[in-house]
Amino acid sequence: MAIRSFLILFILFFFSSLNPILSLYEDQVGLVDWHQQYLGKVKQAVFHTHKTGRKRVVVSTEENVVASLDLRQGEIFWRHVLGSNDVIDGIDIALGKCHYPFIRRKYFESMESSRWADGVGIFSSGSKALKIITNLKIEKDNIVIIFSNGRLNAVSCIDGEVLWEKDFEGESLKVQQVIQPPGSNLIYVVGFVSSSLFEMYQINALNGELLKHESAAFSGGFLGEVSPVFSETVVALDSTGLILLTISFQNGKISFHQTPISNLVKDSFGPAKIITSSVTGIFAIKMNAVTIVIRVKDESKLEVVEKTNHETSISDALSISEGQQAFALVQHASHEIHLRVKLAHNWDDNLLKESVKMDQHRGLVHKVYINNYIRTDKSYGFRALIVMEDHSLLLLQQGEIVWSREDGLASIIDVTTSELPVERDGVSVAKVEHNLFEWLKGHMLKLKGTLMLASPQDVAAIQSMRLKNSEKSKMTRDHNGFRKLLIVLTRAGKLFALHTGDGHIVWSYLLQSLQKSKVCQHPIGLNLYKWQVPHHHAMDENPSVLVIGKCGPSSDAPGALSFVDTYTGKELSSLSLVHSVAQVIPLPYTDSTEQCLHLLIDADKHAHLYPKTPEAISTFEREFSNIYWYSVEDDNGIIKGHALRGKCTGEVADEVCFDTRELWSIVFPSESEKIIAIVTRKLNEVVHTQAKVIADQEVMYKYISRNLLFVATVALKGSVEIGSVTPEESWLVAYLIDTVTGRILHRVTHHGSQGPVHAVFSENWVVYHYFNLKAHRYEMSVIEIYDQSRADNKDVWKLVLGKHNLTSPISLYSRPDVITKSQSYFFTHSVKAIAVTSTTKGITSKQLLIGTIGDQVLALDKRFLDPRRTVNPTQAEKEEGIIPLTDSLPIIPQSYVTHALRVEGLRGIITVPAKLESTTLVFAHGVDLFFTQLAPSRTYDSLTDDFNYALLLITIVALLAAIFVTWTLSERKELQENWR
């Protein structure tokens, strides 16, 4: 009995140690994970006035973030990330009762409500706001006047109540400016009706009463925007863009004054564009690359004060004292930027003139905001906040960059990884090797911690030692493959290399091919691919990545390629293509220098091979007949498959250009099905085995194909927002399509369901997430696909002797006999992204990584999405690891990968295998970045980082000593026995 109970205890202990622990301990936070917060490109910045005593700036960004930054360090004081539908049009700080920024955002068509929370008043109003006026007072209440969506609203600052509103919508007026002369209670609203009629409304700001309404026609027509120069004068351009119009509406009388630009500047540079600024008496026009700053004297006299080829930005006016306005002018000259601060009425003198050295990889200055402070000698000092072309934000003060923020990282388009250099002589290694004493001291501390002898100071020291482990930010490859470079491409066209150890920026490079130029007006960065992955015989080469971009949003815009070395961050070469880029197909072939072959398909369905070397062409021609490609036209609901036909003919003839022909097409009925999601397997995914062993030693053969495409379509009515259709008129159809032959392997309809669909494809299964209208809940479904034609390989002897053809290459044209298994479950969250863990050999079990609506990443074991789950699994099935079926998927709070953090504005989750089979690296990006390591089946193949080697050593020494002592004792005793 005693033995049995001992046994049970032993088994219990054994099993409890096997139970997977997914969660982290508090002191493990930050050991392998890092989290970075960003804002995005700043659209508008408002400084807290020095009267309020706060040294902060409030910014709104293109990523729909409102944040308050500390001016000393640039740290985020508070931040609000609004949804992608809530575009911020402007912010302002209202003085008086409410000190908080007002956010105008596109929301609903009409004025809806206002909300006061967390230091931000969010005022929901119509689209495209133009102007906020905040310095008006009625009795003790401050009112805020907001113009948006053709409507002028006055809102009380106390409770957000709408005091009055004036609608210009009905009068077909295209409002250009809302001007408030300083110190008066009047508001001017100016705009155009059709293209040649100028209208002016004068309104009493306190009660919304219309005081005057004038209009005047101008035969030449108007072009673009108007810039206010005085409180009752604006400047506009005529429709040709060659004549400047000064429009004055003093005392309600509208008068035009024309000044041809050719009168101001000798040589013509083509049509001009007005750069609006709020500086009194000053405006700027831009003609091609030339910027001309013009001063308006009196009512109509124009005078050129500056003409420059340098890229120029002008800040808004800042009133520094009674009647005095200052503004900043930033000019970009190769390695420097020149900042000048001037008074509006005195162009010739500079209040401030500074030159700041600027990193070339920040590009040009896009925006500048100034703020003043009073120096100790009572004179004015100025600080300037500048937004650069790469979306970074810098604060300049006294000729220096006080701080900078890489806010471009808030808008990542694509991510890839690169290995670090191998450690060897000549490779710079961070200061890692510390002396033996330090090492021993560290381990003694750890030992103390293990034996619970550590004082609180010691505990803190241990924790900081663990966090600052310099091993993890070393610049060389490690044995476990945890250290890598994350190469990210941002919307600004900048490449960053982030170290996976601690997230620091190793290098950054502003791609010239993705910058605005004469040939390419609107370059767009598209994708990143691994171009050269050296291993084996090409070890000495540096790895490189391929960046693909194109000029402009149209489908036939020419493409641009850049090749960037990932060790140095230097551009190796760049190509501007003559053809467009509609598809990029990385081929699974490499040349002798380990350059990956890529096939670029243009809009005319010609295939272009890169690299353009004879070797690549010969490799390609060997595999020519086996290469196919497919295109998904989601607008028309057609999927087409193509094969290559031969060298291009006609004018595009080229060695590396190939014609293609259409093989098959799948046309979805346009009235009932609309493609909303397609997913394929990840190209670099490794699958360990083709067999799945189920209960009772049975085998199922997975249908593993690289050429499977998951397509989800919804009914046309169901492709709108959730809640607007009834379950009867909405359905969702999921397809599995072979992209070589066009064969539909599986089709399933979910009635009463609708999108959005998020899906992930891995091995032989696909998991997708959608909304079930009937159950009013989100659902997740899994489809697993198995190859039935292999199922009769049951003869053990044949398998033992290897007399089977299970591993011989197969053609997809051999008709596969597949069966699918599927199951659906309810899921509580709506989902932003789904990914799956990936490991080097594909042996470790998989976890789904679900980006939830709360901007967190949840790890969900794939075993929960096993279509073989039943309510009462048999003993054999339980042993296999099948979980009893439940109607919904469990959300275990400990399995949030992001633990207490949030990856605001989550857009994508990327998993990269580490060299260690048990571990996968996870990178989640949105406005914030988050990185961590995951071990879905725990780290079964390594000791943990905090493994105490000193304890092990001491234990061994103690054991050896004990053995020695007992040995001598027993010797002595034996001798005595013998003497007896």
């Binding site: 598809q583 086996n626 083709q690 030693q697 690289r706 050429n707 197969i810």
Partner: protein
């Protein structure tokens, strides 16, 4: 097994030497007890030694049979241990199974050694040996059966295909929604 060996070994050590040549009265310092006729003992010496030999061989044969049956107890013991260990694979059950496999094998390797003490011209050791071997084979079979119930014998197709890599596909295709 241990016991058997013990019996056999110690048997040798304290075996009474019946052939003690103490018939010569001169060698004896102690006079014969009164009424003891030495001649009656000494009569028919050869018969006595033959009887002695017979008794020894009988005893050896008996012991050999005992030794040969010893693994049976072991078998029962093993069976009990296996029942205790259960059918799930863990450290304990694997340990028991492997000891159950190892013991018969090592015993079979040492069959000759085990029966060496009982080697005699007159004793037929074939029977005990066969029984010993049979019982040990039975133990081995029990071990293998246990191994099978644990699912550790590669006799299913699944054991041979579970690490087969997926078949390569000849065709390659790529694409998607136009960029």
């Amino acid at each position: 097994m241990e016991k058997g060996k013990g019996i056999m070994g110690s048997g040798r050590r304290w075996a009474v030497d019946f052939s003690d040549n103490s018939t010569a009265p001169s060698s004896r310092d102690i006079p014969d007890p009164p009424g003891f006729a030495r001649a009656s003992v000494d009569q028919d010496d050869s018969t006595v030694s033959r009887q002695k030999k017979d008794a020894e061989s009988n005893w050896k044969a008996q012991k050999a049979w005992e030794v040969a049956q010893a693994p049976f107890k072991n078998l029962l013991m093993m069976g009990f241990m296996m029942w205790m260990a259960g059918n799930t694979v863990h450290l304990f059950s694997i340990g028991i199974t492997f000891s159950a496999l190892w013991q018969p094998i090592s015993a079979l390797q040492g069959v000759g050694k085990v029966f060496e003490p009982y080697k005699d011209n007159k004793v037929d050791l074939l029977g005990p040996k066969l029984l010993f071997i049979a019982l040990n084979l039975g133990g081995l079979a029990l071990g293998v059966w246990k191994l099978n119930t644990l699912g550790l014998l590669p006799i299913h197709a699944s054991d041979w295909v579970s690490s087969l890599p997926p078949a390569q596909e000849v065709e390659y295709s790529g694409g998607g929604i136009p960029l």
